[in-house]
Amino acid sequence: MTKPDFVYVTFIATTPEKVWRALVDTDVMRQYWMGPSGPARVNVSDWKPGSRWEHQRADEPHVVDIAGTVIESTPPRRLVYTWARPTEVDDESKHSRVTFEIEPQAEKLVRLTVSHEDLAKDPKMLEGVSGGWPAVLSNLKTLLETGHALPRRASTG
């Protein structure tokens, strides 16, 4: 394991199963996974190790911003996938890697850790990703704890 470039942690008052579902089910994802300028994104895959996954715009599925391969999928505890530009998905040397760890802390309290490794070789991606995860995790927490995500921000272009 290489040293992660980023580690993000959020505590959510919910169950590991609901967090897992939020990570793999596009119906839940489209409610909290917003792109930087508005449109919701969904991650589409059958989530089996070795399968491809794609980060698509929810309203325009043909627009794929990120893609990669599922490395590990252990519901409801651990999901690992590689992360690449669609044009670089066949070149593993360009991939970074995302790990989600879901740990129960107490009854109805879950610690979700997202770590991202091997990003430093791609400063542009690193910059975009480091701003994106806190927003995604913060929205996810709000959705699971209140039943609805924050109002969609007005797109400022």
Binding site: K3, D5, Y8, S138
Partner: protein
Amino acid sequence: MFKALADPGRRRLLDQLHQESGQTLTALCEHMDMSRQAVTQHLQLLEDANLVAVVWQGREKLHYLNPVPLYEIYERWIRKFERSRLATLRELKNRLEGDDDDKT
């Protein structure tokens, strides 16, 4: 969380982690003019407030700045109400104070 941020030493620790993420206690101590024990205590408090996330790599404990709780505060108290006004104020300040490049 605000208690964790209230101490200048702890804010410096967060700045250190912002500059370089994934540092060990030893690396952090090099930049801090306080005892190793004091740094350890500050880090524990920051970890309890979820402002620092810890990853074990073998026998090394690596510390990361975790911005998620700060982002939640930003969403709740800054973005919703104030951002456009803050931007206007900043622009006004820039204009009044002038910028050397703008003086012709």
